[in-house]
């Protein structure tokens, strides 16, 4: 038996501890910039970053909105494309053999290498970013959905057979539901990749967005602005991730028990 204490058990501690960690990290960062007297254009202090953000809050907000829209749009598109593909793969062994190696190959391509081409094909608008996001998060979604559906216990499959269920019923009443927890695992991996995808897209060819902001502020040595944009990106990523966690708790109360 491990000893249980207030620090590991209570809910207050569950919130307090991460916050304390965060404050400590910011403090260390601040301290480091003072102690080592780092020039502002190399590493700005937390105060510099906040001050820079306060100069132009609307621009930062708008950039965040642009990146968020690309990220979420691409993510949703990847779900809409990925889940049916996973369904087809699980349903037909022939299709699996046909499509699976292709998927692996597409996944093996370093996505960043395709970004300039996407810009050539689709220009500076939001579409190349959305496509980049889809490319990034498509694979984990397909794999987790397919694996989840395949791991349906044989006894449940046999139960549905004994009830004379059609193949379609087997998928929509059983397999997809059974796969839900694993699908969510895939989605949680994918959402972080989606954020990265939108940034890559904005690095290559863009006129707005947080990624664009980081890229241009790097060129003009506006490091504080870059830091502010990076922080906003991390916050966005975390919020999206926990949004999914929340959604999972809401939608799959039956899946909590297994963990």
């Amino acid at each position: 038996m491990t000893k249980r204490s207030w620090w590991t058990e209570s809910r207050t501690a569950a919130v307090l501890l991460p916050v304390a960690g965060l404050i400590a990290a910011i403090g260390l960062w601040w301290l480091a910039t003072i102690v080592f007297a780092v020039p502002k254009f190399l590493v700005p202090s937390p105060a510099d970053v906040v001050a820079r953000a306060a100069e132009d809050p609307m621009m930062l907000l708008e950039s965040t909105w642009v990146s968020l829209a690309e990220t979420v749009g691409g993510f949703l598109l990847a779900v809409v494309i990925g889940v049916p593909i996973a369904l087809l793969i699980v349903r037909s062994a022939i299709l699996e053999r046909l499509v699976y190696p292709l998927l692996l190959m597409v996944n093996a391509i370093p996505k960043i290498a395709v970004a300039p081409l996407l810009a050539v094909w689709m220009g500076f608008g939001p579409s190349p970013k959305v496509v980049m996001v889809v490319l990034m998060c498509f694979f984990p979604i397909v794999i987790s959905t397919a694996q989840g559906m395949k791991s349906t216990p044989v006894e449940l499959v046999e139960l549905l057979r004994s009830l004379n269920a059609s193949r379609t019923q087997e998928f929509f009443k059983l397999r997809i539901w059974h796969a839900m927890p694993q699908i969510f695992t895939g989605l949680k991996v994918a959402i972080s990749l989606a954020v990265i995808g939108s940034v890559i897209g904005e690095f290559i060819a863009a006129t707005k967005g947080l990624g664009y902001l980081i890229y241009t502020s790097g060129a003009s040595a506006d490091t504080a602005l870059a830091f502010a944009a990076i922080l906003l990106l991390s916050i966005m990523s975390i919020v999206l991730f926990y949004g999914l966690v929340l959604l999972e708790h809401r939608l799959l109360p039956w899946a909590q028990e297994k963990r």
């Binding site: 216990p153 006894e155 449940l156 046999e158 139960l159 549905l160 057979r161 004994s162 009830l163 004379n164 269920a165 059609s166 019923q169 009443k173 059983l174 539901w177 059974h178 839900m180 799959l252 109360p253 039956w254 899946a255 028990e257």
Partner: protein, 269 residues
């Protein structure tokens, strides 16, 4: 109700062919409670799956209600060793699953089954649990839900593959008493696979003993003890002991199974 004639089942396993069942002749009368008993791997589950239409025999014929079995039938239900409940569905929705999947029943008729589901849940003492999710129930309660699910369409035949073997002894006794009670009310034909001699004796009108490798009909034992029976407190201890020891002997005996001639004598077609 169920008739098997010269049924054999051969599997193409990875290490060659396995004869799971050979020359099985069996007739189960309507309303009869038959237990199927035998060592592990002697083909009990295979036999049930043949009757359920989940498998088609490599030789011989299987008939249910006079018709050759060609696939799962709505009037035959199957109950597994584990509850096999869908974790995301409420107890009620699990019980109604067979009705929901049935593409030949109209939506209006399906509504009537809800009342039936409530009745059945009450019958097994689960009233008030309709909205619960399976993981909120104990193993015994889950298996009761599974029992309700297999009763929802008033099956003519219930096939049960060691349905209580994963439960503790007390719950098991409780459930087998419930099953007897339900059986007396519903007059369903039941084929019940078990490893437990006690269970076989308490439940069955007849116990069918299979011998292993290849699975053959070894003997059929009539159990003419008055019902309701139970293991502990009943007046038929001597009868139970006599039949139990007979089954023990049959299961332990390594000599080849009874000849077909004998089957015909014990087993008028």
């Amino acid at each position: 109700m169920i008739r098997l004639d010269g049924v054999g089942q051969v599997f193409d396993g990875r290490e060659g062919r396995i004869t799971a069942l050979e020359k099985i002749d069996l007739h189960v009368r309507a309303g009869e409670f038959v237990t199927l008993i035998g060592r592990s791997g002697c083909g009990k589950s295979t036999l049930l799956r043949l009757i359920a239409g989940l498998l088609s025999p490599t030789s011989g014929t299987v008939r249910v209600a006079g018709e050759p079995v060609s696939g799962p039938r709505p009037d035959v239900s199957f109950m597994f060793q584990r509850p096999a409940l869908l974790a995301w569905r409420s107890v009620l929705a699990n019980v109604l699953l067979p009705v929901e999947l049935d593409r030949s029943t109209a939506a209006r008729d399906k509504a009537a089954y809800r009342d039936r589901a409530h009745e059945l849940l009450e019958l097994v003492g689960l009233q008030g649990f309709e909205r619960r999710l399976p993981h909120e129930l104990s193993g015994g309660m889950q298996q009761r839900v599974s029992l309700c699910r297999s009763l929802i369409r008033d099956p003519k035949v219930m096939l049960m593959d060691e349905p209580f073997s994963a439960l503790d002894a007390l719950t098991r006794t409780e459930l087998s008493e419930e099953l007897q009670r339900i059986k007396m009310e519903l007059s369903t034909t039941i084929v019940f696979v078990t490893h437990s001699i006690d269970e076989a004796v308490v439940l069955a009108d007849r116990a069918v003993v299979l011998s292993p490798r290849p699975g053959r009909l070894r003997d059929v034992v009539e159990i003419d003890i008055p019902r309701p029976r139970s293991l502990g407190q009943n007046g038929h201890v001597a009868d139970v002991a006599r039949i139990s020891s007979r089954l023990h002997a049959l299961l332990a005996d390594k000599t080849p199974p009874i000849a077909e001639r004998l089957v015909d004598e014990v087993w008028p077609r």
